[in-house]
Assembly symmetry: C2
Homo-oligomer: 243 residues x 2
């Protein structure tokens, strides 16, 4: 059973302000929930339609009817389970290795895909401008497919961050140097820009190393690359010599 | 004004069987419609809420109220215009250059993103297994952002196609050769597999050149790459020496 108050609380967590108030977020589906349970995330409560997740104690688990799951789910087609977790304290930001910096990424699917890519390429730190979509947005949590447990994400002022770092800062620009011919280090910060506007002017002025993914199609017409796809190609280039 | 019959026809085009019956599909949004108008696609009718698209004759254009646009749109938040186009005859399949072959891609967003990537990397031919999502699905048309006008897409039996081609056939497999160390030609067919199951067994058996994108993160846990992201990385590798 799930009470009216619980339904109200959980649906409110689709909004960032209530996630901040309650310091809670939720995830859906066996795979993502299992990864969160296996990590350092602290479970608040699990709602499931099946007698599963035996490792979770009865006090933290409720059997829920499909119709009630629909009421609390953020998905069009709800999965079999939904779990509320505590938002962990922000961890210290890594100061070495390869770091992805996101300048106002708005689409939850893009942020989730980028975290999945970071996980694949062994990038452990992502820093986001404060305007970037919240990592605990249910759509982001879903799109990360569990990578949220392995990549450290911090929100900060990107200009301050770049000004204070000792690492080389790279950014992708239409007029940047051909990435295939650039000398790419093992360590550094790679800035990826907003879906519609690219890297903001203020951040762009602080970037010394301007790189570009060359375009092979019709130069007049071809659309720009999607930011998540571009991040994949850029990470692949940074990592390929160390595989 | 848009009649009840027109509304019924247009909404039916969200389903493949009615697109086949009527040999029509629709696109939404100024950018995509403009690209289709500028290409060889033949306009059936344009519905717009604004006095725009001056190049389209009055007979093929109707001013439509926002509320009616909502009725015919496939989008949650409709754009300002929707246009119905004729499905063109399938063009001859290219037998040279780099060709992407898709083995049962189900997600419209993935197919759209892959076409956008092909457009960027100058790949002019995509061949799809018959189980791959239809290119004239409204969500695919939207996700291509106009690339649908520049990439030739054919549906066929992939096994027959691979058996009959003279080109080298590459496929991505978990146990394939490190793509960063492979010798990749300028011409060839690259097979990308289904989101959940990868390349099917029947197709896989016909592929001589098995490649893999190395994984750098936690080998036990990291999720597989999304197929669109993987296509981007693979295309970048095939093209990087020719930039």
């Amino acid at each position: 059973m799930v009470s009216k108050n619980q339904i109200k609380l959980i649906t409110s967590l689709q909004q960032k302000k209530y996630r901040i108030t309650h310091q809670l977020f939720f995830a859906e589906g066996v795979k993502v929930i299992q990864e969160l349970l296996d990590s350092n995330f602290e479970l608040e409560h699990l709602y499931t339609t099946q007698y599963d997740f035996e490792e979770v104690s009865g006090a933290k688990k409720s059997l829920i009817h499909e119709n009630d799951l629909k009421k609390i789910s953020a998905l069009t087609t709800p999965n079999s389970c939904l779990a509320v977790f505590k938002i962990p304290q922000e961890r210290e930001i890594a100061t070495s290795g390869l770091i992805i910096a996101l300048d106002d990424i708005r689409d939850p699917g893009n942020l989730g895909t980028i975290l999945r890519l970071c996980d694949w390429f062994g990038v452990e730190q992502v820093v986001c401008s404060r305007e970037t979509v919240d990592i605990y947005n249910p759509k982001v949590v879903q799109a990360t497919m569990g990578s949220i447990t392995r990549v450290n994400v911090a929100y900060l002022d990107l200009c301050d961050y770049i000004t204070q770092t000792d690492l080389s800062v790279f950014g992708t620009f239409m007029d940047g140097e051909n990435i295939y011919k650039s000398n790419l280090p093992q360590e550094g910060i790679i800035v990826m820009g907003n879906e519609a506007n690219g890297i903001s002017e203020a951040v762009g002025e602080l970037i010394k190393k301007r790189i570009a993914i060359p375009r092979f199609g019709d130069l007049q017409k071809t659309e720009s690359l999607n930011v998540a796809t571009a991040t994949g190609i850029v990470l692949s280039e940074f990592k390929r010599n160390f595989a």
